[in-house]
Amino acid sequence: MSIILQTDKLNKYFYEPEPFHVLTDISFTVDEGEFIALVGKSGSGKSTLLYLLSTLDTEYEGTLTIKNRLLTGLAQDHLAKFRNDHIGFVFQFHFLLPEFTALENVMMPALKQGKLKRNEIEEKAMEKLRQMQMHDFANKPSAKLSGGQQQRVAIARALINDPAIVMADEPTGNLDSANSEKVIEIFEDISKNNGKTIIMVTHDNDFARRANRIIELVDGKLVR
């Protein structure tokens, strides 16, 4: 197993409303194909850590390396390109673009990447939606889908560019238990069958136990 993600002494401070040391000396590695659950109490800094790993938040100390590439200190536009190619996102509030159909939402990151032709992208997006059992809703405006359906579309979108890592921030936080179960099953599926590396923030211990490994934060320090 090769190392896909490595952090070295990540430190993060909030300055508003008052100075606060959120993360202290976070160093860990993630192997390729691992399914990791990032857990901790509310305010422990687990979401903050995920946004550092995702390269969206660049104000930190320490270094972050993904796929042997040092990302600390890179320009915003390079990071945007890197995210587009290598990182898939799933958010708590599913966040689809409301004016577009489910299919268009899934296609968007691939269109941005511009590697494939439009019809190839469309085919690939349909295939991802089929994997999530959402292909029947492909041409529905995303605003008309239920919460669970939107989250499954969002996962399909996260996978469209075949990213190295899928990052999820409380993907079940806003769903009922049946839909939550379905989402976790999908994560297990893409971890086992597609070999995707997954880092999932969750506060649900039952779901966390279904991951390969649990990383726990307490008051901004790594304890497990």
């Binding site: 536009d77 958010f91 966040f95 673009l97 004016e99 968007m108 269109l111 511009g114």
Partner: protein, 420 residues
Amino acid sequence: MGFAVNFSIAKTHLLSRKKQSVVATLGVTFGIAMFILMISFMKGVNQFLQDTMLSSTPDIHIYNDVKTDYSFSVAGDYFKDSNASVIVYHPKPKQISLNIKNADAILADLKKDPVIGAVSPLLSTQVFYNYGPVQINGFIDGVHINEEARLYSLEDKMVQGTTQNLLTSSDGILMGSGLANKLNVTLGDLVSLTTPIGTTMRFRIVGIFAIGIGTLDNAKSYVNLSSVQQLLGQNSSYITDINIKLTNNDFSKPKAIAFYKKYGYKSDDWETANSSVMASNVIRDVLTYVVSITLLIVAGFGIYNIMNMTIANKMKDIAILKAQGFGRKDIVQIFLTQSIVIGTFGAITGIVLGFALSYSLSRVPFPASNNFISLKYFPVVFRASHYIFGVFFGILTTFVAGFMPSMRASRIDPVAILRG
């Protein structure tokens, strides 16, 4: 490829809020349309006034000006003392004749110049038109009527008779319409004139003209040059003025300067002679641009507002796009495209509407209270440059209005929004 995605997002945004997009577009449309209408109308007015002015002003007027240089006096010679300073109160000009010497040679020389369209020698004098016991003050111009007619297109301004009538009668006179009204005379009537030097002569009216300028129509008459020379007791080469029409009146100023240097007589070009009219042209132009640009800026603020609102509503979407790998440049493109699309549509519909309005105005009859004004419809000009400027400025306005909100959108921190 990148732009195609951004453009399709921009398009979807615009189409998903059609009402807002249409309102924003209409703002630009009306701004541009009013600009086109105003500038076409104002330029039309300027053109009309200039044409009217040129119908009574030659492009270049050469004449012998009264010298008012009194810096030299014979009194200084008389005292022969270089230390004495001599002051002469109320100097008067010496008696001089104000004719242009060597007129025939100058006329012949002028006619060789290729830029010159027409040259009309002129002898003008003040006269009294005798009307029973009343004398009406005015003046007559002695001209070669064919040359004069070419200068001012007099033929179009004849109310009665033709200019040719003057050639066939030795005592013919063409009279201004206002003057003919005052004297209560018509074609074929006789009128008697008295000059300042006391000579009197009778003329028969062979034509009546209306130039459209009251001070001329109420005071001016044309007779043959030889008649005036006879009236003033001068020889056949005695003239006081030369009026010139150029083939292109843009050359008036440099040509006037050249003629002054060449012949030594004062030469006025039409712009100098009518500087007040030219000044009012400039003022109308400035007014037009100020009002039009204000309209467009108001439209620009409308777009600025709408873009700001859109971006406030789209914060989440921007954060998602950024998380998916859309860079700052892409975000700017997405929102700036929306603004420019609004501007382009607005500008195109604006010039179409502007043309329609201008054309309609040019078909509205001008409410003329008297027949002095030779204007049938509202004066409107159609110039491609106005339309090009309108489109250019419309798009520029929306670009500027969209740029700041787009930059703001590109600076949105996705983490703050995604974390809720």
